[in-house]
Subunit: 227 residues, 2 copies
DNA sequence: ACCTGAACACCGTTCAAGT
DNA sequence: ACCTGAACACCGTTCAAGT
């Protein structure tokens, strides 16, 4: 009744191991990912993985990169023919959000792993994306310095909102006994309002506020500008 | 040449263990914290800790709570006599920032640990702080629902900005070889601008934007209002 | 060339036994 | 009452040995 080995000789390589790790974390959670379990999942002993991956930490780096790179294959996002910077940022933001929600167990890793360079900010931690964003923003008329400010601010916005949204959804703990809210009258009264939100609408509203802020950095444009 | 046991019989308790864990993580990093090392740090075998703490996960929960509670002992923050809601939020934000910078290895834990209740958002993950914030905002004239919106938005702002700031500072990896930036001309050109920022000034600017957004939710007030 | 067995140093955790 | 020794089931990782 044992599983047939999923990996006959020579089938293993780094890419396959990493994508298996992504699938494993999505299904079972990060804390369950061990070299032995991932090996078993691939029909192989844990030690075999070390021929393709330097170690567990490097594997997790690979997982983060792989998920971030998903964005590049998202046709909704990576249209070179975007309708202006705001459209570009909006698509990008929603793309990152989709990625985060598709991999709620991996997004905290994306958020907290030290980036490759000190000037790379999660969750847009790929050189290609940074370059692309800077290109669009300078193309829209922003100075290089201002484009960098936009990158930083936008990263912070995405990180905060999506980490909250993901962590709230991933919550598997038992809810707190309502009785313990004695002494916190407002908390008690507003619990429904506190529980609500953190859906697309909240996201879009905060996104719009970001875009408005950025628009104010741009050189004034004539009415009816198409961006 | 062994250390004298730091903990003669009966000196151990949950609070001491947790604060030792905080100190240990601050000094050596989260990934080095093991039950055995923490025990040794306290002059005791690992197994002794289990009499006071249910396990490692619970210990980390305790660490998070302890650091969050530091805010309550911060005299700069917890002045009941604040000069209006904006002053209150500003002090709170700077207090959270101080906490994050004081414990850069713990803040990611604060950010990503599942909160006790689904409506609790990091980093303001203490019932006392939520109640206090709601109290101030409703006192300023906001409806309950709007006060909840402020709590959510403010949490997202703090989370995003401080996680970035902390992770950038905590970066110990080797910088990337500049040569690899071929193909990314803007990145290359703007590297200084990208590296900059994420200091108090960036924080204060983003904080002000948040406060402005909140101000727009408030009922209009006469000129010269003191908040 | 690619995988595994055996081994090493370490985990978290339990529990009977010591003081 | 409080701590420890010994044990268990598991880690990540190395390396010589097998195919």
């Amino acid at each position: 009744m044992r599983d047939r080995p999923a990996s006959p000789r020579g089938t293993l390589d780094a890419a396959r191991i990493i994508s298996a790790a992504v699938a494993f974390i999505d299904e079972h959670g990060l804390h369950r990912l061990t070299m032995q379990r991932l090996g078993a999942h691939l029909g192989v002993e844990a030690m075999a993985l070390y021929r393709y991956v330097p170690g567990r930490e490097a594997l997790l780096d690979g997982v983060v990169d792989a998920v971030v790179d998903e964005l590049f294959r998202d046709p909704e996002v990576h249209l070179r023919a975007h309708a202006g910077w705001a459209d570009y940022l909006r698509r990008l933001a929603h793309g990152v959000r989709r990625t985060a929600l598709a991999h709620p167990e991996i997004f905290p890793l994306i958020a907290t792993r030290p980036p490759a360079a000190p000037w790379v900010r999660p969750p847009l931690r790929s050189l290609r994306w940074i370059e692309s964003l800077l290109e669009v923003m300078t193309g829209a008329g922003l100075s290089g310095a201002d484009a960098a400010v936009v990158y930083r601010g936008f990263s912070g916005f995405l990180l905060g909102h999506l980490l909250l949204e993901v962590s709230v959804r991933g919550d598997r703990r038992a809810g707190p006994p309502a009785a313990d809210l004695a002494g916190y009258p407002l908390l008690r009264r507003l619990r429904p309002q506190l529980s609500a939100g953190l859906g697309v609408r909240d996201f879009e509203e905060a996104l719009q506020a970001q875009l408005d802020r950025i628009a104010r950095m741009l050189p004034p444009q004539g009415p009816g500008s198409r961006g």
